[in-house]
């Protein structure tokens, strides 16, 4: 895309984009770390992951300030308006992903400290891999300005939802089989929910990426396509 006559305007928009990308990277990393802490019962790593969430929170504040500054100074319109409005929404969504990862880390500590060994349902690993890929792919779509790639991420959410339903049934069955492990299994159930929610947020980010690029709302565009 051609540059603004005011170079400093381009610099500010680059800064906004850069914060979004950094946040996406951090959220993916936090998710990977929290799952590693869970698998390895690594309490130190879990604590580090929880602490790392502060960096994500700080970036969200930075994004807010940068976007407010762009609004105040530049009165953005058209592509620029969509860019900054979407960035503001995306950073909130990504920050929520970090919160879910933090919650997984916190629960991994409770699981590690619990009496007895309760194996992690294998579906959680698959869900985490899927959610992690969704974050990476939606951030790639954002950087590459790929509307079709954003749609592809959006469409994968159903798969993650199905995985969550399967995990839910699996964990519930184990709760009935081994009621003495209900406390630990409840943590696993909540972790499955957190992973499903991370996927939801990645889907929401995909909608914003699509809107940023095309100026159209993804849901409306899909409906129009369906009718056409």
């Amino acid at each position: 895309m051609s540059q603004h006559i005011l170079r400093t305007y381009d610099d500010e928009l680059k800064e906004v984009r850069s914060v979004v990308v950094r946040m996406g990277g951090l959220a993916a990393e936090q998710l990977a770390d929290s799952m590693r802490a869970l698998r390895d019962q690594d309490i130190d790593l879990a604590e580090e992951t929880r602490a790392a969430d502060k960096a994500l929170d700080a970036l969200e504040v930075l994004a807010e300030n940068t976007v407010v500054g762009v609004f105040a100074r530049r009165a953005p319109v058209a592509d620029d308006l969509r860019e900054v409005v979407s960035a503001l929404k995306m950073t909130t969504m990504i920050e929520r992903m970090g919160d879910y990862a933090k919650n997984i880390a916190r629960r991994s500590i409770s699981i590690a400290e619990a009496q007895g060994v309760v194996l992690m349902p294998h579906l959680l690993d698959e869900m985490a891999t899927e959610a992690h890929e969704m974050i990476q792919d939606v951030m790639d779509a954002y950087v590459q300005r790929g509307a079709e790639e954003a749609i592809a991420v959006w469409e994968r959410d159903e798969h993650l939802d199905n995985m969550y339903n399967a995990a839910y049934r699996q964990i519930l069955a184990r709760m009935m089989e081994t009621p003495e492990h209900i406390a630990t299994l409840s943590h696993y159930l909540m972790i499955a929910k957190n992973l499903e929610r991370i996927g939801d947020q990645a889907t929401n980010v995909a909608e914003q990426v699509y809107y940023t690029i095309t100026g159209k709302f993804l849901e409306e565009a899909r409906q129009a396509k369906g009718q056409g």
Binding site: S2, H4, V77, A78, R82
Partner: protein, 264 residues
């Protein structure tokens, strides 16, 4: 005789003015190139584009202000309620009462505030007596949001008012002859932000009653006051659409580059 001109887009309301294949030449310069556009009574239409894009030239065609410029040739058709305004039997003075104009620089007559507003109704014979004229002057100043500020000094010189007040006086003067269309050529470019806000508030107030067409260099002003926006470039109409759509998701790259301040 009035022509039946099909609107460009089927809508519930009928266009007040229809512009069809309008070209304007100044000697060898082709300033406006084949414009088709509909203007509606319940809409403010903003004309935007870089200097020299033809927007003011087109605006001046709408009440034949270009007639006064020698070497200016206007081709095509412009209809006001289906009546060709370039037809030979058109009374141009009458046309300019129906299609009023407010200019970039406020230009009150060197007369009293009262006479500035009363001038038009007097020459068009709109008032039968002094009482009726008083009513028109008060109503016009009221509509222009100026009555409260000037009602105790109607005999003062119009030129002694502040810039913003002078511009609203000019709007009152345009309103006084019951126009159907009001053309505004950068009406706020010489005003400070407060006076600008007052004129914009006035445009909002008037927008349901008159077809308003405003030429502005301020993107934010176009976004604030209009419901329809037209982007011109090098004499051509590049894009026409709902103002919200133009300023959030313009369809043409040239529009995007212009309104976002990019090098085209």
């Amino acid at each position: 005789m009035n022509a039946v001109v099909e609107p460009l887009v089927a809508t519930e309301s009928k266009p007040k003015m229809t512009i069809r294949d309008v070209h304007v030449h100044y000697e060898d310069v082709h300033a406006v190139k084949g414009i088709d556009l509909d203007l509606y009574s319940d809409k403010v239409t903003a004309l935007i584009g870089p200097s020299g894009c033809g927007k003011s030239t087109l605006l001046r065609c709408l009440n034949r202000m270009n007639d006064t410029i020698s070497d200016c040739r206007v081709q095509g058709q412009i209809y006001l309620d289906g009546q060709d305004i370039y037809a030979s039997d058109i009374d141009v003075v009458q046309l300019r009462a129906r299609v009023g104009m407010v200019f970039q620089k406020p230009n009150p007559f060197p007369k009293s505030i009262y006479d500035n507003v009363a001038y038009g109704p007097r020459i068009h014979g709109l008032a039968t007596d002094r009482e009726a004229l008083d009513e028109i002057v008060e109503a016009s100043l009221e509509k222009a949001g100026l009555w409260q500020e000037v009602k105790d000094r109607l005999d003062h010189q119009g030129t002694a008012l502040s810039g913003g007040q002078q511009q609203r006086l000019c709007i009152a003067r345009a309103i006084a002859v019951n126009p159907e269309v009001i053309l505004m050529d950068e009406p706020c470019s010489s005003l400070d932000p407060i006076a600008t806000a007052k004129v914009e508030a006035l445009i909002d107030e008037l927008s349901g009653r008159y077809a308003i067409v405003i030429v502005t260099h301020s993107m934010q002003q176009a976004a604030r006051v209009s419901q329809k926006t037209v982007f011109f470039h090098l004499g051509e109409m590049i894009e026409y659409g709902d103002t919200t759509q133009i300023f959030t998701a313009p369809q043409q790259e040239q529009t995007r580059d212009y309104i976002t301040g990019r090098i085209g």
